[in-house]
């Protein structure tokens, strides 16, 4: 007798924004599997038109409260590309420092509060705190140190910082303001090492994919806020060529456009891609910690992403510590931009992967057109292909457990649906 199974989750939890999964199975065969995004559209690219170039960093920050620096820095890089501005080293270092803060805050939130509960069979971090309060207290302190960096460099707050501008900063932080980060960061390095050990002891479902990874690549650093784009299929191109390689399509189930590589189909962005393409750029401590956690130089199981994120927290803490210890105030906090008609391109490694910006400016600096391709939009197709495997390998599970496993697989990507547009509903139908 044909057996139909229907599993439905109306709203996927512990992701940023609102999305859904529809799954219909007939006799154990997947009939339909769609990861959808119903976050209401907010039209940023449309209302950027006619605004001044200098407004783009603050306006685009409002795409995402969790990774505002990714948007501010993407917009700033693009505007500085258009206006031909090169910032001096101390400003560059401050930018990397604040971006490390965002990685620590965002990854810390995801690893401990959004993802770890899945591996432990708990509903949330509050339940985790009932089982292991000291662990959650440490996790919160680690995340808080990320926020302290954001506030120290970003002008007093972690969400939508006010101090970043095209050309540099409104006011350079004092040595004292940055120096206050050093001791907390020493503690954070130790705690993030411990985090790698804690999460690597979890049990990992088995899924393997031969992904096409895309990430930034920098001459000598683990990539965060600059570099060229590369893939593990031999592509290597500057940010300005991104749209020659990547396009987006609009599908009915999603208010977020689906990104894909024109020549290769679905590509994977985010911590796993960054790590696999830049393993040789990790610092010695992070590389050692990764090896001890059992990670090779290339990641193929998406459930290992939680370990990779922890390794990246460690890397960001070490980088931030070094930058904070060596900080010297720049002579001038910013370079005054001179508007001109031009097109500019920017791409940085948001916590969830590459985030691309392009702006066309008029002579007076007004924005004529804008295009932003966030990481979660690029990962939607990959999330669906992971889910096919997860479902096929877990058909024996009762509906409730299968549903949870699917949610966990989606959370491997820390999808930021606010960014991609934003709603996660999970529906599974079995026939």
């Amino acid at each position: 007798m044909a057996r139909t199974r229907t599993i439905k989750v109306d709203a996927l939890a512990r992701v940023e924004g609102e999305g859904s999964l529809r799954l219909r199975l007939k006799d154990g065969v997947i009939q339909q599997l769609e990861f959808g995004i119903f976050e209401p559209p907010r039209f940023f690219e449309a209302f950027l038109v006619g605004r001044d170039y200098s407004e783009a960093p603050d306006i685009t920050a409002r795409i995402c409260g969790i990774c505002p620096i990714a948007y501010q820095m993407g917009a700033i890089n693009a505007m500085e590309d258009a206006l031909d501005i090169q910032v001096p080293r101390p400003i560059r270092d401050l930018r990397r420092l604040i971006y490390c803060g965002e990685w620590i805050e965002s990854h810390g939130l995801h690893v401990y509060m959004l993802h770890a509960p899945d591996f432990l069979g708990l509903a949330d971090a509050i339940e985790l705190a009932k089982v292991n309060r000291p662990l959650v207290e440490k996790a919160l302190r680690l995340k808080q140190i990320g926020n302290e960096i954001l506030a120290a460099v970003g002008g007093g707050r972690a969400i939508h910082p006010i101090n970043l501008r095209v050309g540099g900063f409104y006011r350079a932080p004092t040595k004292q303001e940055i120096g206050a980060l050093v001791e907390p960061l020493k503690w954070a390095v130790e705690t993030s090492l411990e985090t790698v050990r804690v999460v690597s002891a979890f049990e990992f479902p088995e899924v393997e994919q031969d992904y096409t990874f895309m990430a930034l690549r920098h001459e000598d650093e683990y990539p965060i806020h600059e570099g060229r784009l590369i893939t593990n299929r031999g592509d290597d191109f500057p940010v300005r060529d991104f749209e020659d390689h990547v396009d987006e399509e609009h599908v009915a189930r999603s208010n977020a456009l689906h990104g894909f590589m024109k020549a290769r189909g679905a590509h994977h962005v985010g911590p796993m891609a960054r790590y696999s393409l830049n393993h040789d750029r990790l610092g010695a401590t992070a590389r050692q910690a990764a090896a001890e956690a059992g990670l090779g130089p290339v990641i193929t199981n998406p459930f290992h992403s939680i370990i990779v994120r922890s390794v990246e927290i460690l890397q960001a803490c070490e980088d931030a510590l070094r930058l904070a210890e060596n900080y010297e105030m720049p002579d001038r906090p910013f370079i005054e931009p001179e508007p001109r008609a031009a097109v500019g391109y920017g791409c940085t490694e948001a916590p969830r992967g590459i985030c691309y910006h392009r702006y066309e400016l008029a002579e007076d600096g007004a924005i004529k057109s804008a295009r932003i391709i966030p990481p979660t939009a690029q990962n939607q197709k990959i999330i669906e292909s992971d889910l096919w495997q997860v479902v096929e390998r877990n058909l024996h599970l009762p509906d409730e457990d299968l549903k949870w496993r699917c949610e966990q697989a989606i959370r491997n990507y820390d999808p930021c649906i606010s960014c991609a547009t934003h709603f996660l509903k999970l529906e599974v139908e079995r026939e």
């Binding site: 709203a11 209401p40 603050d58 409260g65 707050r157």
Partner: protein, 259 residues
């Protein structure tokens, strides 16, 4: 004596960047203490625990931009004793209220290949435009300490203490030199509600109004000063009033005067 029953809290997201609910998760030092005092019954970003019950306190972030959201906020109201709107989107429609001034169909055509897939309202509006709201907390994002004050106040059964005077008062209290008078930098401080913690002026930057309009703001006077003293043109004045609280009545009217 029986233990006091914990108040039940629901946290709801509408059209937004998630930053306001993140403000609650950013209360790292206080979060576990909050969870000791308040039952976090519904908070999708933080827990997969589902809950269909009633709430003592509903925190709502984001704005109403779809027919579904207009229905959802009425449902939240019916199920909650107190509804607290948090943030610029919730209290004025937020940055996405910029659509209210334009043709939303044109926006959809610009961003999406298949406009027929998109179900959206022509406007982005505050919750108070749809339901009775018990308290509105401003800010893009809100100030963490103000959010804690609002929660503590309602748990204790009193009104929150959140000033409605201008950002200028924060500069005076902190001794920040006026950026407009001393540097000729355009500043929204005189018409913007205090509460951010005096951020922009203390970083040599003009306030950009993310806390929305203060009580009885004199926007016309400020705009005239900008135009006379700073030689700003109409487009620049309009842009400054049309940002994260573009649909706040005084800001909206002022921006429309400089078309």
């Amino acid at each position: 004596m029986a233990a006091r029953k914990k108040p039940r809290l629901g946290v709801w997201k509408f059209s937004s960047c998630d930053g306001c609910q993140l403000t609650l998760l950013d209360c790292e030092t206080e979060l576990l203490a909050i969870a000791d005092e308040i039952e976090i019954a519904y908070f999708l970003e933080a827990t997969r625990r589902e809950d269909k019950g009633r709430y003592d306190i509903a925190l709502v972030e984001g704005s109403v931009t779809t027919p579904e959201e207009a229905r959802k906020i009425r449902d939240v109201r019916r199920r909650s004793n107190l509804v607290l709107s948090v943030g610029a989107c919730a209290t004025t429609g937020g940055i996405q209220a910029l659509r209210n001034f334009r043709d939303v169909k044109g926006f959809i055509d610009l961003v999406y290949a298949h406009p027929e897939y998109i179900d959206t309202l022509a406007t982005s509006t505050a919750f108070a435009d749809h339901i009775h709201v018990d308290f509105e907390l401003r800010g893009c994002p809100p100030n963490k300490n103000q959010l804690l004050e609002v929660l503590s106040a309602y748990v204790a059964g009193r009104r929150p203490v959140v000033p409605t005077h201008s950002e200028c008062m924060e500069c005076k209290a902190r001794g920040t030199v006026c950026v407009m008078v001393a540097q000729g930098t355009a500043c929204m401080g005189p018409v913007t509600q205090a509460g951010c913690g005096n951020l922009c002026p203390s970083y040599d930057r003009g306030c950009y109004g993310c806390f929305g309009q203060k009580e009885t703001p004199n926007t016309g006077s400020l705009a005239a000063w900008w135009r006379e003293q700073l030689r700003m043109d109409g487009r620049d004045v309009r842009r400054r009033f049309s940002t994260y609280n573009a649909n706040a009545p005084a800001f909206r009217e002022e921006s429309e005067r400089h078309g």
